[in-house]
C-alpha cells in the first residue's frame, strides 16, 4: 500500500531538527533509516502528520573512541557497525550480532538510533545495549540528558524518550579484559526476526573464576530481558557444565516471559532459550579463557 500524506522537513543540522521537534512534537515523527517507520506508513499503521528527516544531519553519523568508550551517533547505519574494525576489537559482541539484523539491504539504511527508539522486543540492538551497559543521550531544544539502557526500554515499542526528544548519541564502554562473548538466535529464515535469541557475556578473574556474567534475551518479554538472577548463579564460581545448565534452566523457565506467536509456542521459545543459553555460555567461557593468556 501507499503512505498517507504528511508534511516533510529535512534539516541540515541537529539544532534545526531540535527546533522543529519543539515546535511540532505532537504531530512530528523522526525519520531515520525508515526501515521500520516506512513499512508501518505503507500499511497505514502509522500516519504521522509530519516527518523530520535526519538523513542530512551528518553530525549524527560517527563512531569515535575516547578513554575506553565508544561514542556512536544515532544515525550511524547498522551496516557501519557491522564492518567497523574498532568495534570488532573492543565490542565484538556487537560485530557478531549485527549480521542477524534483517538483510544487508536493510542494514545499509537502518540506523542504531532508529532500532533503539523503535524498541521492538524482538530486535537485536536493544538487547545489545543492555548487554553492553550502554548510555543513551537524549536531547531537546532546552537541553540534554543521559539515560542508562536499563532505564530506556519501557515496554513494547515504548521508550523513556519524551515526544520532543531526539536520541542523538550512544555511549558504549569497551568490553572489559578477560571477557568472552556470544550472540545466538534462532529465526525461521536468515534475516527474519528471531523466535528467541540471547547475548551472553562472561568476565573471568585472574584465577579463571567467573567475576561477572550477563544474559540478555530478545523476544522474551515486552522489552529486552536481562536475566540477572540467572547470571548471578554463575558469578564467583569456577564455571562448569552443571552450573551452566542450572543458569540456562533458571533463565528459560523463570526469568524470561515470552508470548509465543504465529511461528512458535511459548514452550518452544523456552526450550530454545535453554539450548541457546547453554551453547552461548559455553562459547563465551571458551573465548574468555582464550583471552586469559
Amino acid at each position: 500500500m501507499k503512505p498517507a500524506s504528511f508534511e516533510y522537513h529535512v534539516p541540515d543540522t541537529l539544532e534545526q531538527a531540535l527546533g522543529l521537534m519543539s515546535q511540532y512534537a505532537d504531530e512530528a515523527k523522526i525519520l531515520a533509516g525508515g526501515q521500520s517507520l516506512v513499512p508501518a506508513m505503507n500499511f497505514r499503521v502509522a500516519q504521522p502528520g509530519m516527518l523530520i528527516d535526519l538523513n542530512r544531519v551528518n553530525e549524527l553519523s560517527f563512531i569515535r573512541e575516547e578513554a575506553g568508550t565508544f561514542h556512536i551517533g544515532a544515525m550511524t547505519r547498522e551496516r557501519h557497525l557491522e564492518f567497523n574494525s574498532s568495534l570488532a576489537k573492543r565490542a565484538p559482541l556487537l560485530t557478531e550480532a549485527a549480521p542477524f539484523i534483517a538483510h544487508p539491504q536493510i542494514r545499509n539504511r537502518g540506523t542504531l538510533g532508529g532500532s533503539i527508539v523503535n524498541a521492538d522486543p524482538a530486535a537485536e540492538l536493544p538487547v545489545l545495549m543492555l548487554a553492553l551497559d550502554a548510555r543513551l543521550k537524549a536531547q531537546n531544544a532546552s537541553g540534554e540528558r543521559w539515560i542508562e539502557a536499563h532505564d530506556f526500554f519501557a515496554g513494547m515499542f515504548t521508550t523513556a524518550l519524551a515526544s520532543d526528544e531526539i536520541l542523538v548519541e550512544i555511549e558504549l564502554p569497551f568490553m572489559p579484559l578477560r571477557t568472552g562473548w556470544s550472540f545466538m538466535e534462532v529465526a525461521p529464515r536468515a534475516g527474519d526476526y528471531a523466535l528467541m535469541g540471547v547475548a551472553a557475556l562472561v568476565t573471568l578473574d585472574e584465577n579463571g573464576k567467573c567475576k561477572k556474567a550477563k544474559l540478555v534475551y530478545l523476544n522474551a518479554g515486552d522489552s529486552p530481558v536481562d536475566a540477572k538472577e540467572s547470571a548471578r548463579l554463575l558469578e564467583g564460581a569456577a564455571l562448569n557444565d552443571a552450573l551452566i545448565e542450572s543458569a540456562a534452566a533458571m533463565a528459560s523457565e523463570k526469568e524470561i516471559n515470552p508470548f509465543g506467536n504465529i511461528h512458535t509456542s511459548i514452550d518452544f521459545q523456552r526450550h530454545l532459550a535453554n539450548v541457546l543459553t547453554k551453547n552461548a555460555l559455553k562459547q563465551a567461557v571458551k573465548r574468555a579463557e582464550e583471552n586469559l593468556q
Binding site: 500500500m1 501507499k2 503512505p3 498517507a4 500524506s5 504528511f6 508534511e7 516533510y8 529535512v10 525508515g34 526501515q35 516506512v38 513499512p39 505503507n42 500499511f43 516527518l51 528527516d53 538523513n55 551496516r79 549480521p99 534483517a102 538483510h103 544487508p104 539491504q105 536493510i106 545499509n108 539504511r109 529464515r189 536468515a190 534475516g191
Partner: protein, 158 residues
C-alpha cells in the same frame, strides 16, 4: 493534497528534474514518473527484495525510501546494467547461462543486490552468497540455479 517539491535525481547517470509529493515512494517514482519499470514491486514493506536498487552505490529497498529523500543522490536500476541487449552485464550473462531465473520477477532486485556484493567480495563462498541473497525472495527457482549463476558471475568478473 500536500505540496510538491522540486527534486533533481540522477538515475543511471542521467539527471531528472521532477516535482514530487513527499509521500511518493522512490519505487513508484522510478516506475511511474520515469517509466523505468525494471524495478519491481512485490510487498512494499521491505520483505521481498524485488525493488532493490543502488542508492549512492549501496543496495537498498526503493519501497522504503521516499523519492524526495533521493534529491541530489545517484540511483542505479537494472536498466543501467547492460550497455545493449547484446552486451549484457557479466552478472546478467551468468544468470542467462546458468538458468538463474524462471519468471524473472525477483531478478532485477537480485541483480542489483549482487552488483555491490561481488565488487566487495569477488570470491564468495556459497554460504556468503546465500547470506547476501537472504533478503531476496524467489518463488520459482528454489535458489539453486541463482547460487550457481552467482558463482559463474564471480568467475567471469575476476
Amino acid at each position: 493534497m500536500t505540496r510538491s517539491f522540486p527534486v533533481t535525481i540522477t538515475v543511471n547517470e542521467k539527471e531528472y528534474k521532477r516535482e514530487v509529493e513527499p509521500r511518493l515512494l522512490l519505487s513508484d517514482f522510478l516506475r511511474h514518473e520515469l517509466g523505468l519499470t525494471g524495478t519491481h514491486v512485490g510487498c512494499e514493506h521491505g520483505v521481498c527484495g524485488a525493488c532493490t536498487i543502488l542508492f549512492d552505490g549501496e543496495s537498498v529497498r526503493s519501497c522504503l525510501i521516499f523519492a524526495i529523500q533521493a534529491d541530489g543522490h545517484s540511483i542505479a536500476t537494472v536498466e543501467g546494467l547492460a550497455k545493449d541487449k547484446d552486451d549484457l552485464h557479466p552478472i546478467q550473462q551468468a544468470f542467462w547461462e546458468a538458468h538463474g531465473l524462471q519468471c524473472g520477477y525477483c531478478t532485477p532486485g537480485i541483480l542489483m543486490t549482487l552488483v555491490p556484493f561481488l565488487k566487495q567480495n569477488p570470491n564468495p563462498t556459497e554460504a556468503e552468497i546465500r547470506h547476501a541473497l537472504s533478503g531476496n525472495l524467489c518463488r520459482c527457482t528454489g535458489y539453486q540455479h541463482i547460487v550457481d549463476a552467482v558463482k559463474l558471475a564471480a568467475e567471469k568478473m575476476r
